[in-house]
Symmetry: C2
C-alpha cells in the first residue's frame, strides 16, 4: 500500500473516501473487496471520534429505545457484526476483542427500576434476550458493583469490541484488498461536472475520482456544507485494572446521566462519556473527568484503586434526528457517510454495506433508507 503519493501528482481512483475513521475504513474495505480501486485520505486514520469511542454494540438502551428508525438500523447492524468480525479477523489475523457477555444495566433507585422494567418489556417485544435481576443477582454476576445497586437488566444480545483494534484491522484488510491510504489533510471537494469529482489536498495535490465518499465525521460539513452535522463533544477515560475486574459492560443512570464502564480482555476499562455541545473544543476538562470518575465510582466503587491511564476527547458527528447520513449528497458522484453520533462502531457494518452498494449500483439494505441525505431538504 502506498501511504502517501507525491503531492501535486494527479492520480485517479474509482473511489476516494475522505476520512479514515471506522465508517470510512469499513466502507473502503468493502469497496476495495468489490474490485474497485479505492483510496482513503486522512492525516491520522482512526484518530477522530473512533479513537474516543467505547465500542459498545448495544442498539437498545435507555437513551435510544424511543427512536425506532435508529433502533431498527442498530439491530440490523448488530446482526451483521458477527460475520463482519469473523471476516475481518480471518483476513487480518487480528483479535478485535469482540465480547458477548452482555450488558448489565443497573438501577439504584425506584425510578431507575421503573425505567428498566419498561425497557425490559420493550426489548422482549423485539425478541431480545433480557433478564431482570435483583441487586444480589447483579452482584453475583459482577462482584465489584456497588451495594447501592438495587436491581438490573442483563441484555444478553449486546456485544462490544475494541474500536482501536477495529480501525487497525480495517487498515490492514483495506491494504490487503489493494487499497491506498493517503495520510494528508483534505482542503475541499471539487465537482465541476457529472462524474468527475476531485479531492483537493491541503498540500496542493489533487486526486481525481470516479466517486467520492465524505466520511469525515464531525468535519464533514466543512466539505459538504449542506450536511447538517455538528460536533457533540465527549470526554472519556481509560482505566487500567487487573483482568476480570469486570466481565460485562456495566451501565447505569447516575445523577441523571447515563454512565458506562466497558471492560477489555487486557484489564483496560473505558469509562464514558460526557456529552457537551461546545463546538470543536479539544480540551479534557477538570469537570468532565470529575463527573466521569464520580459516576463510575458510584456504580463500581473499587475503580478508585485502578490506574487512570488516559483521558481523551472526541467529537461525535451529531445530526438533527440522531440518524446517520448515508447516500448521494450534493454534487453528482459525491456520497456522504457521516452523522453516526454515538453509534459509529455499531453501525459500521451496515454503513459499509450501504456505501458499497451505492457505489456499485447494487441493492442498498432497506433500513438504510432512513439515512437518506435528502430528508433534511424536504
Amino acid at each position: 500500500m502506498s501511504r502517501t503519493p507525491p503531492s501535486g501528482v494527479r492520480s485517479g481512483y474509482d473511489v476516494v473516501i475522505v476520512g479514515g475513521g471506522v465508517e470510512g475504513l469499513a466502507a473502503a474495505w468493502r469497496t476495495a473487496r468489490r474490485g474497485l480501486s479505492a483510496a482513503v485520505v486522512d492525516p491520522a486514520p482512526g484518530g477522530g471520534a473512533t479513537h474516543a469511542s467505547a465500542g459498545m454494540l448495544a442498539p437498545v438502551s435507555e437513551v435510544t429505545y424511543t427512536e425506532e428508525p435508529l433502533l431498527r438500523l442498530g439491530l440490523a447492524s448488530l446482526a451483521a457484526w458477527p460475520a463482519f468480525r469473523a471476516e475481518l479477523e480471518d483476513e487480518t489475523g487480528d483479535d478485535l476483542d469482540y465480547r458477548t457477555e452482555g450488558t448489565l444495566e443497573v438501577a439504584r433507585g425506584a425510578d431507575d427500576m421503573a425505567v428498566l422494567d419498561d425497557l425490559a418489556a420493550f426489548e422482549r417485544t423485539l425478541g431480545l434476550r433480557v433478564e431482570r435481576l435483583t441487586g444480589r443477582e447483579c452482584r453475583s454476576y459482577e462482584p465489584m458493583l456497588s451495594p447501592s445497586v438495587r436491581g438490573g437488566l442483563l441484555a444478553r444480545d449486546d456485544a462490544w469490541v475494541n474500536p482501536r483494534r477495529v480501525v487497525r484491522a480495517l487498515l490492514t484488510a483495506f491494504e490487503k484488498a489493494g487499497g491506498t491510504l493517503v495520510t494528508e489533510r483534505v482542503a475541499g471537494i471539487d465537482a465541476p461536472g457529472p462524474g468527475a469529482p476531485c479531492v483537493r489536498l491541503e498540500s496542493g495535490g489533487v486526486i481525481a475520482a470516479g466517486q467520492v465518499v465524505v466520511a469525515a465525521g464531525s468535519w464533514s460539513a466543512s466539505l459538504l456544507p449542506s450536511l447538517p452535522v455538528r460536533p457533540v463533544k465527549g470526554e472519556i477515560l481509560r482505566l487500567r485494572g487487573p483482568r476480570g475486574f469486570l466481565t460485562r459492560c456495566v451501565r447505569g443512570l447516575v445523577h441523571g446521566s447515563p454512565a458506562y464502564l466497558v471492560p477489555r480482555g487486557d484489564g483496560e476499562i473505558t469509562v464514558g462519556a460526557t456529552t457537551q455541545e461546545m463546538g470543536f473544543d479539544p480540551r479534557v476538562t477538570a469537570g468532565g473527568v470529575y463527573e466521569l470518575l464520580r459516576d463510575a465510582r458510584e456504580l463500581v466503587p473499587g475503580i478508585t484503586e485502578l490506574e487512570l491511564a488516559e483521558t481523551t476527547t472526541g467529537f461525535r458527528p451529531g445530526t438533527p434526528d440522531n440518524l446517520p447520513i448515508i447516500g448521494p449528497a450534493g454534487p453528482p458522484g459525491v456520497l456522504a457517510a457521516t452523522g453516526h453520533g454515538r453509534n459509529g462502531v455499531l453501525l459500521s457494518p451496515i454503513t459499509a454495506d450501504a456505501v458499497a452498494a451505492f457505489l456499485t449500483g447494487d441493492e442498498v439494505p432497506p433500513v438504510a433508507r432512513f439515512c437518506d441525505p435528502g430528508r433534511f431538504s424536504q
Copy 2:
C-alpha cells in the same frame, strides 16, 4: 558542560552529587560556586519529586505548625529565598515565576475556623504578617472562591515558585559555574577507605570523588541503607486556565485532608496533593484524581471549566521525624541531603548552604543541626 563522559572512564571530581532534583542541583550549584569541581549524576534531572512539586514556600500551615524544628528550618529557608532567587535569576536570565501575593487559607465550617484562629495566633507569635478575613473578604481577594467559604487567613509572607523552572535555572547556573552533568543511573557507592569514595554507574563506569553527596530523594536508602528514608506517594494535577483565574495560593481542609491550588503567571494551576504510603507505585489512580478534583472543586467550583492538562505522581522522601537528613552519613567522605518530605523546594536554599559548608569545612547554618543524620542511631 560535558553531559555524559564516556562510560568506563574513571574521571575525578572534588564532589559528586548523586541526584539532580532541587536539593542536589542547588547544593551542586553552591558547591561549584565555591570553586570545587563538581558533577551531578542523574538519568533525568528534575524528574523526581521536584517534577511533581507545587513549589509552595509556606513554612507555617495547619500541617506543620506543631513541629518546631521543621518550622524553624522552614522559616530560615524562606528568609533565604529572596536572595537565592535573585542570584539564580541574575545568573541565568530565567524567570522562576516567584510569587509573593501570599497564601489564602480558607475555612468552611466552625471547626475549620477554630483551627485557623489558633494558627493565626501562632503565626503572630513568630512575627509573621497574617490577616483574619471574613468569607466576604476572602471572596473580594479571590472571586472564584466557593460561597461556602466562611472565612480565612491571608498569610502575607508566604511565597511560591515554579519548581520546574527552578530546576532548569539551577542546571543552567551549575553549568555556568563549571559543573558537569552525567545523565546516567547510579548503581552504588563504594567507600573502601577514608577519602576515596567512588560512584559506580549502572553502565559500568566509575567516577572517583573527593566527597560524595547522596541527594537521591526517596531512592537514597538504596544507596545508603542506613538512611531511614521512605517514599510517600503524592498525586498532583495541573489545570490550565485563563491568567488571573486565581491570584493567590488557596488552601483549605476538605473532607479532613488539606487541599491546595497554586496559580502560575501563565494561568496554570497546580492542584495537590494526595498522600499515600504505597511504596514506589508510579500509577496515577482514578481515586487520587477524583479526590483532588472533588476537593479543589469544593474550594473553587469554577475549576470544572478548566483544562485538565496533566496528572503526575511523585515520591516525597519521608523520614520518621519529618525532618530532612543533611550531613555526613555512613562511610567517610559521604554526605546525605535527602528526606525533605513535602518541603523540598522551600528547604533548598538552606540545604544547599549547609551541604556546601559541610563540603568545604565552613560553618554550617545552626538550624541544620536538626538534620544531623546521626540522630536516628542514638
